[in-house]
């Protein structure tokens, strides 16, 4: 045990003392915080240039409405212009001229409103800047409103009454109401969408990110020790399994260090913005992170031990990376229906359990207790199997040189 901890401690310090690790710790919050600051700073930096557009109004009824709407459209906030001014020009239907005007910049766009627009509802907007959404959305709203008004008028129906009768219901999602001992029914809390969907997504992505950044480090470290012939020195002092286990423990602590920072930061933000986060989610996170790292750390270190060159390792990594990616392919249906058969089965399959069961645990009310217990039992069993098999591969692979690895050979090493 002492030797395992010695290896783990050195592994941990070797990683956390690297510039890459320190930079990732320091710069990640700076980048994330910086992104928010930059967003805040540039949110008002929209293009305020005047938008001149031609209106080819074959119906003869829309231009005045549009001109009035443009005139009345508020473009200032607190005395400061925050939106571009829209300037309509009524023109004839000479398309060649309009096109040239758009191209030379004297017009931003032109809109063709056909004669029978009220009946057909067909309007065409032509522009060389299709990604600019402000003007077309404005035109759509104004013309749509005027067409509807005219249709109601023609049908002699009171549009205001229709709007009043057609107003949507207010549908709120609440938690369960608690009944007190005295029989009073307490007011339920309204479900917070950010909390309901935000927390599961954040914990799932964070878990994925931490496993993806931590486990492959095992491969690099083992490969480096093998290529630089350090492995032989180490296995003369510790058994290959002690070395392997020490490395796994080391990487778990590296990843937990990152978790402490990121979860701490996320927890602080949640507290700051009054988003209640269940305390148990931290416990589940660390537990499933441990299991995930033992599974994927084992796989990656076995690959590292089996290979003698980085190129071989990279090609063998691909299938392992695909397994890590599985949760990313299926998490959305699980988020939408966390109690479905699909979600239940997927979250009980060990390589993806740490991700999907965690996701389900973060969605209230969470899976049934038997599902949690079964997932932990299955994943722990799978983890032990991975550690055992990878340990067997590691034991032989760490001293083998010059052999191009294959999955058939790795399989043979496991049972050798």
């Amino acid at each position: 045990m002492r030797k395992i901890l010695t290896v783990a401690r050195t592994e941990y310090l070797n990683i956390v003392r690297t510039k890459a690790f320190i930079i990732s710790i320091v710069l990640m919050p700076i980048f994330m915080g910086g992104a928010i600051v930059v967003q805040e700073l540039v949110k008002d930096k929209i293009d305020l240039k005047e938008r001149r557009f031609a209106v080819i109004d074959e119906s003869g009824a829309m231009f005045d409405v549009l001109a009035r709407a443009c005139r009345d459209r508020p473009i200032k906030k607190d005395g400061k212009q925050v939106r571009p001014r829209f300037v309509p020009q009524q023109t004839d239907g000479d398309i060649a001229v309009r096109t040239r005007q758009v191209r030379d910049g004297s017009l931003f766009a032109y809109v063709v409103i056909p004669k029978d627009v009220v009946e057909t509802g067909e309007v065409r907007y032509h522009t060389a800047s299709p990604t600019s959404m402000g003007l077309p959305q404005f035109l759509r709203g104004v013309i749509d409103g005027e067409v509807k008004r005219r249709r109601f008028l023609a049908a002699q129906i009171d549009q205001a009454l229709v709007a009043k009768l057609g107003r949507p219901i207010r549908f709120g999602t609440y938690g369960l109401q608690e009944v007190t001992a005295s029989g009073e029914v307490a007011e339920a809390e309204r479900v917070n969408q950010a909390q309901t969907f935000g927390i599961p997504i954040v914990v799932m992505i964070l878990m994925f990110m931490l496993v993806m950044t931590s486990a492959p480090v095992m491969l690099n470290n083992v490969l480096e020790e093998k290529m630089q012939r350090i492995a032989e020195i180490l296995v003369a002092s510790v058994s290959p399994f002690q070395l392997f286990l020490g490395k796994l423990v080391g990487i778990v602590f590296v990843s937990w260090t990152l978790s402490a920072l990121y979860l701490g930061g996320a927890g602080y933000l949640a507290f700051h913005f009054s988003v209640p986060v269940p305390g148990m989610i931290y416990v589940w996170f660390l537990l499933f992170q441990l299991l995930a790292l033992f599974i994927f750390g084992s796989i990656f270190s076995a690959i590292g031990a089996a290979c003698s060159e980085l190129r071989d390792a990279q090609s063998m990594m691909m299938p392992a990376m695909l397994v890590v990616m599985i949760p990313m392919f299926v998490w959305m249906p699980v988020l939408k229906s966390p109690d479905s058969t699909f979600a239940t089965i997927m979250s009980l399959i060990p390589p993806v359990t740490p991700f999907l069961m965690l996701l389900r645990l973060a969605i209230p009310p969470g899976p049934a207790v038997w599902e949690i217990v079964l997932s932990i039992v299955l994943t722990t069993g799978f983890t032990l199997g991975c550690v055992w098999a990878a340990g067997r591969i590691f034991r032989i692979g760490i001293l083998s040189q010059g052999q191009t690895p294959s999955f058939a050979r790795l399989f043979r090493w496991v049972f050798e």
Binding site: R2, K3, T6, V7, T10, N14, T18, E225, Q228, R229, I230, A231, E232, I233, L234, V235, A236, S237, V238, S239, L399
Partner: protein, 300 residues
């Protein structure tokens, strides 16, 4: 009681038998030369002594422990291929390797510093290994092997890459270790160094032991048929003489192996040419090595 005892060890890698029925006993407190040509099974045997590899058959006892790694903390190992963490400082590498042998961190620091001073590396203690020259890295590796004061030290080609000055320093250290009671297994291709340092020699060839004993005993065993000569006509003349099975030409003199009475050889020479030097010689370890593992033996 021996420091290391091997009995009937076999080790096969796929179709290749690397070690075949090897038995040997390394006396305590001696420098035990372990020689043999490339691919003869030396490194495989050393790895089995350290329980890095497991024999297919046979019994291994190291420092009184049989068939387990229990003695490994009392064994220092310097493999032929050096292995140091390039990004670690010299002091951290030494501390780590010592900790893996069970040495307390404070004791490791004290021992490490003392050895660094002894081998003139003190000013490099805080530097990363990658900044050191190959020779300096070699010395750091050597320190990591001996700093825990192991009872048994296994050195696989310890002098490769060293300049003559550092080579002498390390040689002196190895002799001191022996004088302090440490058993040293010294694996090498350098027959001169083996002859200079070793009390006993074991040579393996094609996985089998072909030579084992004290240097004197080996030389006596192989020394009765060698005559050192300087004659007019040189080695070409000598090679034609009846009874001469081989001639090793050193330029100024020749060593011949003669199957018969040396007096007859002398008489034969005197009647044929002018003899300026005639001496009954013991063969060098190098010659014994070539006799066993040279081209003729390899073809056999």
């Amino acid at each position: 009681m021996h420091a290391v005892s091997l009995e009937g060890i076999d080790k096969t890698f796929q179709a290749h038998k690397a070690v075949d029925g090897l038995s040997l006993a390394v006396p305590r407190g001696a420098i035990y030369g372990f020689i043999g040509p490339n691919g003869s099974g030396k490194t495989t045997t050393l790895r089995m002594i350290l329980h890095i590899l497991h024999p297919d058959a046979g019994r291994i006892e190291v420092l009184g422990e049989q068939g387990s790694r229990a003695a490994n903390d009392r064994v220092g190992y310097l493999p032929e291929e050096r292995g140091l963490y390039r990004k670690m400082t010299v002091r951290r590498v030494l501390a780590y390797y010592a900790a893996l042998k069970g040495m307390a961190s404070r004791a490791a620091r004290t021992a490490g510093d003392a050895w660094l001073e002894r081998l003139d590396l003190t000013k490099w203690a805080g530097h990363r290994v990658e900044t050191l020259s190959k020779g300096m890295q070699q010395k750091v590796q050597f320190i990591s092997t001996v700093m825990t004061r192991p009872e048994l030290v296994i050195l696989d080609e310890p002098f490769s890459g060293l300049d003559p000055v550092n080579l002498e320093v390390l040689r002196d250290v190895i002799l001191e270790l022996r004088d302090d009671g440490t058993t040293v297994i010294f694996s090498t291709h350098d027959m001169g160094k083996a002859e200079e340092l070793c009390d006993s020699i074991c040579m393996i060839f094609r996985g089998q032991k072909v030579l084992d004993g004290t240097l004197d005993a080996i030389k006596t065993q192989y020394g009765s048929d060698t005559v050192r000569l300087r004659v007019d006509g040189g080695h070409e003349l000598l090679a034609r003489l009846p009874g001469v099975s081989s001639v090793h030409d050193y330029g100024q003199f020749q060593d011949v192996r003669y199957d018969g009475d040396p007096q007859e050889l002398l008489q034969n020479l005197v009647s044929t040419t002018r003899v300026t030097h005639f001496e009954m010689a013991t063969p060098s370890l190098h010659q014994v090595f070539l006799r066993i593992a040279g081209p003729e033996a390899a073809d056999a």
